[in-house]
């Protein structure tokens, strides 16, 4: 029983982090049909922002986690800059393939730029450990980091869902993702909407970075690559372009990993993640909640 509870909680925790990251992939894909390969690296930007800012905040007598606010802003700015300086000009001139290659290139650019900063360098850094207190739930020791991760992610996901459904910007985002031309005719500024989407997606990556380093206190320039891949798989699994799909996909991947780690072997977890992906895509090619249905003309 204890093992089971442990498995569920770990799965939820991992899954919540993946879901937060997957939302960034899926939002950008939804709006410009681009797999933003640099999205994983936004987590790295968030991780280093936190690494440098947490001590500053604590030095000022403020709680360390508050550093996530400027980290979100930094990440959002990086995300918007990537769109503005790289993706937008390429989108104007090129095709889908050139955009995709630009995204891969931006991933390397961010990683190498970070490494070129002397204070970052090639060696991993150990950030201050937040939320290290431990609680006991039904005889299972659970770190407060785990609980905070699950609760905060859930709140963010619900808030984001209502934001896209009800707010003016959110509705504009849905319109642009469905039909850019019609959105323009309604008076929507498409470029603004796209850049806001990048800002939100990258900001969420900073929150994910906080959750992640609370559990695994290590930052390095390629930290976003692996996390990014799992989150991307989560987004595809859930149905890329769909927000609830990204959430579901993230949780599913987290659960599969946790299940394999707990009951089989941690070295098998990737195998099962991709096995689940393949099986799901065989049954539902557009993902669990994918809306890749035939368009009515």
């Amino acid at each position: 029983m204890v093992t089971f509870i442990q498995f569920v909680i770990t799965g939820l925790r991992l899954g919540s982090v993946y879901a937060l990251i997957a939302l960034g992939y899926t939002m950008v894909y939804g709006i410009i049909k681009l797999i933003n390969f640099a999205h994983g690296d936004f987590i790295m930007v968030g991780g280093y922002s936190l690494f440098f800012l947490i001590p500053v905040f604590m030095g000022l007598g403020l709680p360390g986690w508050l550093a996530v606010v400027p980290a979100c802003i930094i990440c959002a700015c990086v995300g918007m800059l990537v769109e503005l300086l790289a993706y937008r000009p390429v989108r104007k001139k090129g095709n889908k393939l050139t955009s995709l290659i630009t995204a891969i290139a931006m991933s390397f650019v961010l990683e190498n730029l970070a490494q070129a900063i002397p204070a970052i360098g090639p060696d991993p850094k150990i950030p201050y450990t937040l939320f290290s207190a431990t609680l006991s739930i039904g005889g299972v020791a659970v770190s407060s980091a785990t609980i905070i991760t699950i609760v905060v992610s859930a709140v963010i996901m619900v808030a984001l869902y209502f934001f896209t459904q009800k707010s003016r910007i959110g509705r504009a985002m849905r319109c642009v993702s469905e039909d850019k031309e019609a959105a323009i005719l309604m008076g929507v500024n498409v470029n603004h909407t796209i850049i806001i989407t990048f800002g939100i997606g990258a900001g969420l990556a900073a929150v994910a970075a906080l959750m992640y380093i609370a559990q695994y206190p290590k930052v390095f320039t390629t930290m976003g690559a692996t996390l990014g891949i799992y989150a991307f798989v989560a987004a595809v699994l859930g149905g890329i372009g769909s927000l609830p799909g990204a959430m579901l996909g993230g949780l599913l991947i987290g659960m599969v990993q946790s299940l394999t780690n707990t009951y089989i072997s941690s070295s098998m977890s990737d195998t099962f993640v991709y096995l689940v992906l393949i099986v799901v895509l065989l049954i539902r090619p557009a993902g669990v909640l994918g809306k890749n249905v035939g368009e009515k003309v």
């Binding site: 003016r168 509705r171 504009a172 849905r174 319109c175 469905e178 039909d179 031309e181 019609a182 959105a183 323009i184 005719l185 309604m186 008076g187 929507v188 500024n189 498409v190 809306k291 368009e295 009515k296 003309v297």
Partner: protein, 234 residues
């Protein structure tokens, strides 16, 4: 109200519009008829800024709207009902209509306009909670038209409203167009169905491979032998 002067549009090497000039006066219903590929949709897309002209002017109440961003044209009082409806399929009917009023911040005005549109199209009110993608073609055309009316436009551009609809629905759509015209809205209508278009219009232009080949009052054109042969199947 709307004046187009010597408009040229290129798609790469293709010269799609070769110097189009036309005018639509206040309160007029003017139609642009012609065969497939003549450049009707290109003309409308250029007027509403979705396409950029290589040369020429589009004047709305004397202001050249070629230079302003496409998404701000709706603020000038011009709304466009695109070919193929382009409703937001994954949004409900009411969400679509509210999107039509995206540029309006005044909630009261949005609510008033919504009631006005529901007045024109009672069927949309019945289906307000339904996803737009599940509507029939005729209902989608009503929705696209209603959505364009949400900002009380001075001038409405309508692109092939009868496309793909059954004869009964075509009649219904044209009677709606006539009602809108009678309520004082200026309309520029693009249609392949020349017979119906000439039936409701004040004036018309005939577009042939990127050029205007004929123009005149709707009655004149409907009586013209060349028009009758080419477009009215007489």
């Amino acid at each position: 109200m709307l004046e187009i002067k010597d408009l040229h549009v290129h798609y790469g090497a293709i010269h799609a519009l070769k110097g189009i000039s036309l005018t639509v006066d206040d309160g007029e219903l003017v139609s642009l008829i012609g065969a497939n590929g003549a450049g009707k949709t290109t003309t409308l897309h250029t007027i509403s800024g979705l396409l950029t002209a290589s040369s020429g002017e589009v004047l709305l109440d004397g202001e050249n709207i070629q230079k302003i961003p496409a998404n701000t044209i709706i603020q000038k009082g011009m709304a466009h009902v695109p070919e193929g409806r382009h409703v937001f399929a994954r949004m409900t009917v009411e969400e679509n209509l509210r999107m039509g009023a995206y540029i309006i911040r005044d909630q009261k005005r949005i609510a008033d306009n919504l009631e006005k549109v529901y007045g024109h199209f009672p069927r949309l009110k019945e289906r307000r909670r339904q996803l737009a993608g599940t509507l029939s073609g005729g209902e989608q055309q009503m929705l696209a038209t209603g959505r364009a009316l949400m900002t009380d436009p001075k001038i409405l551009l309508m692109d092939e409203p009868s496309m793909g609809l059954s004869p009964i629905l075509v009649k219904e759509i044209f009677s709606i167009i006539q009602t809108l015209h009678e309520s004082g809205i200026t309309i520029l209508l693009v249609e392949q169905n020349a017979k119906m278009a000439l039936g409701v219009s004040d004036r018309a232009y005939v577009l042939e491979t990127g050029k205007i080949s004929m123009e005149g009052s709707a009655a004149e054109l409907a009586a013209d032998d060349r028009v009758r042969k080419a477009y009215l199947g007489a």
